[in-house]
């Protein structure tokens, strides 16, 4: 019996298990999935929790309900990957040997990477919204906040869902307006990037939005430390910014098991072939989702597009066929812009977000790089799609590769 092991049953690991289980011969292959946490979190929902749009119950489901019955699920931390010996050591003492390994251990925030971040103010007037704990604590805080200066700061790139911090300030602007509090709140968006976003056209478009909404933008700010006694963030070049409420997007890193196993870069992301998704240094290891070091967005939609390519490549690898270099960095992100509207961007490694219609060229119903009500519904529908189609590895009406049709240069 040959062994396929999938590490991580988050978005990407779950999709791969669902795609591979029905097609791999049960007499030939045994599939094991390992994760330490029984609960599957719909992370895109964390964005909405601080504003009371979703609560905790809206974003959690049992992992087991989303995995196919044909796979063995082992609930344990992963202690060490030993690629030279084709085996994985688990925290429960088990050792799993493998013929083929898929790593989908994702990424997590590390506030302790910034000096002073976890001192006195953590979850008092300093919050993250990238975890269930952070977003629910922030929801509680905002319920009773009477206003002041809210600073939203990205510590360093890359972060998962790179548009989420912008969505957060757009939603905050809307929510404070609804609460009748907007004139008592200053919102400042502080980023290490040279603009509101990374890609030039989208950066300009989204920057104009900040302006329109009266949100100030501070660029090129490399945070060195937080002085939580004085409520200030201080940059490496000694600029300082005051806050009453700090919402931080801390350093994102791959899991420690990657570091322990000596398989990652400085941020514990795994060097991966950008087009085939094979690990750079190991033939029988493949990587997808947030765990890779690729310059594609760390997003659920990207994990989905990657899974289509990886599915083909796993079957090709098993049949000893050359791998297809088909992943093009495709990402598709709805950006919630507040007041029941949204923006959609679609791009890949080479093509930046452009205006147009999506997914049907000229028709839509979604509009690219444009603010519409329909795009907002797309974002809200994403939760249903996530649980019912995406995780199951079902075909979506969107191709894995980016399509130029429907886009305007």
């Amino acid at each position: 019996m040959k062994k396929l092991v999938i590490l991580g049953a988050g978005t990407a690991g779950t999709i791969m298990a669902n795609r591979l289980s029905p097609v791999l011969d049960k007499g030939e292959w045994h599939i094991t999935v390992v994760d330490k946490d029984e609960t599957h979190y719909y992370q895109p929902g964390f964005l909405f929790i601080p504003f009371g749009v979703y609560n905790q119950q809206d974003v959690i489901k049992p992992k087991r309900d989303y995995l196919p019955s044909g796979v063995e699920l082992v609930m344990s931390g992963i202690e060490l990957i030993e690629p030279e010996r084709n085996r994985v050591k688990l925290e429960n003492g088990k050792v799993l040997e493998y013929d083929l390994l898929i790593i989908a251990t994702g990424s997590r925030i590390h506030p302790e990477e910034t000096e002073g971040m976890k001192d006195g103010g953590w979850h008092k007037n300093i919050f993250d919204f990238y975890t269930i704990e952070g977003s629910t604590a922030l929801a509680n805080y905002l319920k009773y906040w009477e206003g002041g200066k809210m600073v939203v700061n990205i510590v360093e790139m890359p972060i998962k869902c790179p548009v989420a911090p912008l969505e957060f300030v757009f939603l905050a602007d809307w929510w404070f307006t609804e609460q009748g509090l907007r004139n008592k709140v200053d919102i400042e968006f502080v980023t290490p990037l040279p603009g509101a976003f990374t890609k030039p056209r989208a950066s300009k478009y989204l920057g104009d939005f900040l302006d329109k909404k009266g949100i100030s933008l501070v660029t090129d700010f490399g945070i060195e430390r937080v002085d939580s006694g004085a409520n200030k963030i201080i940059s490496y070049d000694d600029k300082s910014i005051d806050y009453d409420l700090l919402v931080t997007i801390p350093t994102n890193m791959g899991d420690e098991v990657i570091e322990r196993s000596g398989m990652g870069d400085e941020l514990n992301f795994i060097p991966t072939d950008p087009n085939t998704l094979q690990a750079k240094n190991y033939e029988n290891i493949f990587v997808l989702g947030d765990a890779t070091n690729l310059p594609s967005s760390k997003a659920g939609s990207v994990a989905h597009f990657q899974s289509e390519v990886l599915f083909e490549n796993i079957l090709r690898f098993i049949d000893k066929r050359p791998l297809l270099p088909e992943f093009d960095g495709h990402a598709n992100c709805f950006i919630e812009s507040g007041f029941g509207k949204g923006i959609l961007i679609d791009f890949n490694y080479d093509v930046e977000p452009l205006p147009g219609k999506f997914p049907l060229p000229g028709v839509g119903p979604f509009s690219l790089l444009e603010e519409t009500r329909m795009n907002h519904w797309g974002k809200m529908m994403f939760r249903w799609m996530y649980w019912n189609l995406l995780l199951k590895g079902a075909e979506l009406p969107i191709q894995a590769q980016m399509n130029m049709a429907g886009k305007r240069q």
């Binding site: 890359p158 040279p194 990374t198 940059s235 490496y236 070049d237 870069d265 310059p295 594609s296």
Partner: protein, 102 residues
């Protein structure tokens, strides 16, 4: 500008089109354009590490990588190359503009 007389090509972002055309004189000239009058030993340590790392790994090292793999404290990097050290140092080192990851 003096770099124009040096017979090298720049890309649309003003970064050297081919990193093989780089030499130390060009680096001094680019540094002056970036407002750095003199390149000290520490500047050269950064530049040389960046070039070596780029040639070995095919990517312009990030500030975190300069710290962890290159042993250059971030605070010092900011004082050597004020205002956007990663971009400035990459330009002086003759490398492409770093792609702030998406």
């Amino acid at each position: 500008m003096a770099t124009e007389t040096m017979n090298v090509t720049f890309d649309a972002d003003g970064y050297l089109a081919d990193h093989n055309e780089w030499n130390e004189d060009l680096a001094r000239e680019l540094a002056r354009e970036e407002g750095i009058e003199e390149l000290t030993d520490m500047h050269w340590k950064v530049i040389n590490f960046m070039r070596k790392d780029y040639i070995e790994n095919g990517a312009v090292p990030t500030i975190r990588r300069l710290k962890k793999a290159g042993g250059i404290p971030t605070k010092e990097l900011y004082s050597l190359f004020p205002d956007g050290p990663a971009k400035k140092a990459a330009r002086i080192a003759g490398l492409p503009k770093p792609k702030g990851c998406v």
